[in-house]
Amino acid sequence: MATKKIDTLEFEEPVAVLLKEIEAMALMPQTPERIASIAQLESRVTELRGEIFKTLTPWQRVMVTRHPDRPCMLDYVQHLFTDFIELHGDRRFGDDHAIVTGMGQFRGQPVFIIGHQKGRDTQQKIYRNFGYARPEGYRKALRVMKMAEKFKRPVIVFVDTPAAYPGAESEERGVAEAIALNLREMALLDTPIVVTVTGEGGSGGALGIAIGDRVMMLEFSMYSVIPPEGCASILWRDAKKKVEATEALKITAPDLLAMHVIDEIVKEPVGGAHQDHVEASALLAEAIGRHLDELLAMDSSTRLDERYRKFRQMGDVGIVDLNPPASEPTPASV
């Protein structure tokens, strides 16, 4: 049971106290009364967590998003799909380990699967480059998406990356071009695409695989144009202003739902997805399944038009048209 582990975030202090108490009681002889009071304390923990997580600040949400035990893409793959086969390489340069692609069955529906994989322990993190994808990762993703289009299979995408890899080799091999091409081609890909931001939606590195008919976010995930730390060091000239930057950037799921950037918020288990991978996966599977059914029932031109309109309206909430009289031809001389 995940709740037995005393691994709490700093704002969960009251929960940590209870958990210590439970741990101490668990070491004592288990009389029926003690078992009962442990159970009582455990339900109190759940209750308290529920309360605390109802009113998290944006920065606290970022801490949940970055929790080391938060389910990674491959955890969802394990819980959501059967007959999974991982597909490697972009057929151009190499195989990027920060983006995983493959095929499998989702509730008996054959699908293609794409997602960022951050890795959990140190060795895995290094192997996955901490989820920072290189150009070949984006090119591999596009290759697999084109295959999905060929076989008319839906694409399920999991987004969880701090950013595209900002290294010299990324630039040399054209990470900007790789992301740009994905944006254009995913908008036109003639097969359903369901995207979920499960963790960090880090800027262009996230967006590069995140164009779809539906874009959802897990309750405590984030989606941002720049990491809060980066924004703080540029605009505040002080990376320690990350809390302020997080609030200003409006990167939480409720904020982005309100601005019509995403379609739905997928609930997480009490206390965050890291508390219970199985339940988190079940909640996500329900949402993916529902959207997939809707999308498969649509004909392709309607689906593509709606996908276009979905991204077409993004930003409308932020524009006013001063609507000046029709502008007159301007003389060329400056």
Binding site: A168, L181, A187, L207, I211, V225, A248, G315, G318
Partner: protein
């Protein structure tokens, strides 16, 4: 009392040594040090007459250089309403107001239609003086409308990029403009119409990772900084100094990311020749 007490403020060099649109009568070239008469510089399209250093140009100058004569500006009335109510060290609204005042534009792009060497063409030019040419919701909407208008009129599209990337003060909405514009370019592409991306100094971040790199032709001005991550971020990541010329036009040309590096004075002619091939138009009569 000292004999040589300094009574006047010393003459200081301008803090901003980077290339900028010169305003005085005489301008010193930051590259070769040549003192240039401003009128000569303007007549030479802001290119140093001695070393061909390309000074930065504003959006209106870009349009007047590329279009034959008169052109029609579209969507100039679009303005950001500060959707996040963003404040860092000062409110975003104040930054917007200052940029509007300084440039006479409502945001960092001018979209226009006109003729380029006789070819009806849609051009969007970015304005670096407006919050670093950053791409927010208005830039996204204006460029998307320009592309859609071009598809309707079956015209080629040219975007002159000059931008530090997505505008942080409009958050994730700015990020989504990359998707919005790229989707419109997808439709332009499938309509069989030409798109030429002109990359000028600087073109970085989310602009590079979307429309700047999606041209049928990606044409760069010489020595422009073009990249995704900024040089400082890369240096922090790899903990090494980057070599001279990294992320410059010639570097990208060598890496296969752009088609051709073209001197600004040749830009219009090159674009016109390319469009004639793409559109199957007869070549211009020899002058």
């Amino acid at each position: 009392m000292a004999w040589f007490k300094r009574t006047r403020r010393p003459i200081t060099a301008p803090a901003d040594k980077a290339s900028r649109v010169p305003e005085g009568l005489w301008v010193k070239c930051p590259s070769c040090g040549q003192i240039l008469y401003n009128k000569d510089l303007v007549a030479n399209l802001q290119v140093c007459t001695k070393c061909a250093h390309h000074f930065r140009m504003n959006a209106a100058e870009r349009l007047s250089v590329l279009f034959d004569g008169e052109y029609q500006i579209h969507d100039a009335g679009l303005r950001s309403n500060d959707p996040l109510s963003f404040t860092d060290t000062k409110p975003y609204r104040k930054r917007l107001d200052a940029s509007i005042k300084a440039t006479g534009l409502n945001d960092a792009v001018i979209s226009a239609t006109g003729h380029l060497d006789g070819i009806p063409t849609t051009i969007a030019a970015m304005e670096y003086a407006f919050i670093g040419g950053s791409m927010g919701v208005v830039v996204g909407e204006s460029i998307t409308r320009a592309i859609e208008r071009a598809i309707g009129a079956r015209q080629p599209v040219i975007i002159v990029c000059c931008s530090g990337g997505a505008r942080m003060m409009e958050g994730t909405l700015s990020l989504m403009q990359m998707a919005k514009i790229s989707a419109a370019l997808g439709r332009l592409d499938r309509a069989g119409l030409p798109y030429i991306s002109v990359l000028t100094d600087p073109t970085t971040g989310g602009v590079t990772a979307s429309y700047a790199m999606l041209g049928d032709l990606n044409i760069a001005e010489p020595k422009a900084l073009i990249g995704f991550a900024g040089p400082r971020v890369i240096e922090q990541t790899i903990r090494q100094k980057l070599p001279e010329g990294f992320q410059r036009s010639e570097f990208l040309l060598n890496k296969g990311m752009i088609d051709v590096v073209v001197d600004r004075r040749e830009m219009k002619g090159t674009i016109a020749r390319a469009l004639r091939v793409m559109l199957g138009l007869p070549t211009a009569a020899p002058a």
